[in-house]
Symmetry: C2
Subunit: 199 residues, 2 copies
């Protein structure tokens, strides 16, 4: 039995997402057909269409934003002497929710992963070095995940920063080993930032 | 910290789906931002926009289709003397995959659920009665789920059909109790159809 083409198309689109297989994609497509009004599908369709048009990475720190500079880089109150390096914008949102950190961020938008053929040139490092050498930054906290790729990335950055007169620390105890930063709860993130250790 | 509006909008849209909470919706929105090209978001957006415009319920049996009549109702080879009543179009796709059934379908697009205030008038029954009394149907198989609502619906249909000279059966052993039909595997569905019992 052949599914209606429009449904087959939508199933294919849903299967683009991580963790969504054929069965789940079929359920979501059926949900749209049965439960969405024409108006709802239009709102949804436009939300998808808009997102790539309105959102880009902050040219300074890499955080996603819909302004010219992101809200952290635009904020005069943030402490520019302390810079936290994270893997993704999602991590910034998590850390901001914990309310523990008042410095600025640098978002790598990826990790070094030799297994996937991703080297230092494939992540957002080119805009990191000038930020560190402009003398405003006194401390760098490397807050990549405690996965193998996160550790590799942390070691790489630490090695490059060895010759610069700057305190480099790694995010502290608290984040469970092997867990992606985005799944950590607020308290764990607070602890991890408080207990950061010098590399 | 406020998320960019376009991202917040998309998160809200993803949370419309069953089983998608805030965290998962955020992950999907981030996935669109990080991994989709502008072209991909356009394909996705259009797939959503098209589905309600191109798909409707077959006026004869209730199955979703993009033609005037669905492919089962249009098919001359199907045995019109045996009619299977199911809850949703998804069930038809599952049963067709098992290849066991050569009759026709009637899709209720819902179940009788007094707890949710859904009575017989809220499901697709009005087009069922004329199909049964037009003398072509000799046997009706009620294949609603073995949930409480599915059983209630089956009992209701059976009671209405009591005075009609027609064999009414319920889908047989094989479908695990409490499981929605769409999660059953092909073999279980085959067995269930083969072992149907007269009500």
């Amino acid at each position: 039995m052949i599914l209606p083409k429009a449904m087959e198309d939508l199933i294919t689109e849903f299967m683009r997402f991580p963790g969504i297989g054929r069965k789940t994609a079929e359920r979501y497509a059926m949900h749209v057909i049965n439960n969405f009004s024409l108006e709802t599908t239009e709102t949804f369709g436009n939300a998808i269409l808009n997102i790539k048009k309105q959102i880009h990475n902050c040219p300074n720190c890499g955080l996603i934003t819909d302004r010219e500079l992101c809200q952290v880089c635009e904020d005069d109150i943030r402490d520019e002497s302390i810079l936290m390096i994270v893997e993704s914008s999602k991590d910034v949102f998590s850390i901001e929710k914990s309310g523990e950190f008042k410095g600025v961020y640098h978002v790598l938008n990826g990790v070094i992963s030799p297994m996937d053929g991703k080297g230092p040139e494939d992540i957002n490092l080119s805009t990191l070095w000038p930020r560190i050498t402009d003398n405003r930054v006194k401390e760098v906290i490397i807050a990549t995940s405690s996965t193998q790729e996160g550790e590799t990335t942390a070691l790489y950055i630490n090695r490059v920063l060895k010759d610069v007169d700057i305190l480099v620390s790694r995010i502290g105890y608290g984040v469970p080993v092997g867990l992606n930063l985005e799944y950590a709860d607020d308290l764990t993130l607070s602890k991890a930032i408080e207990n950061r250790k010098k590399l």
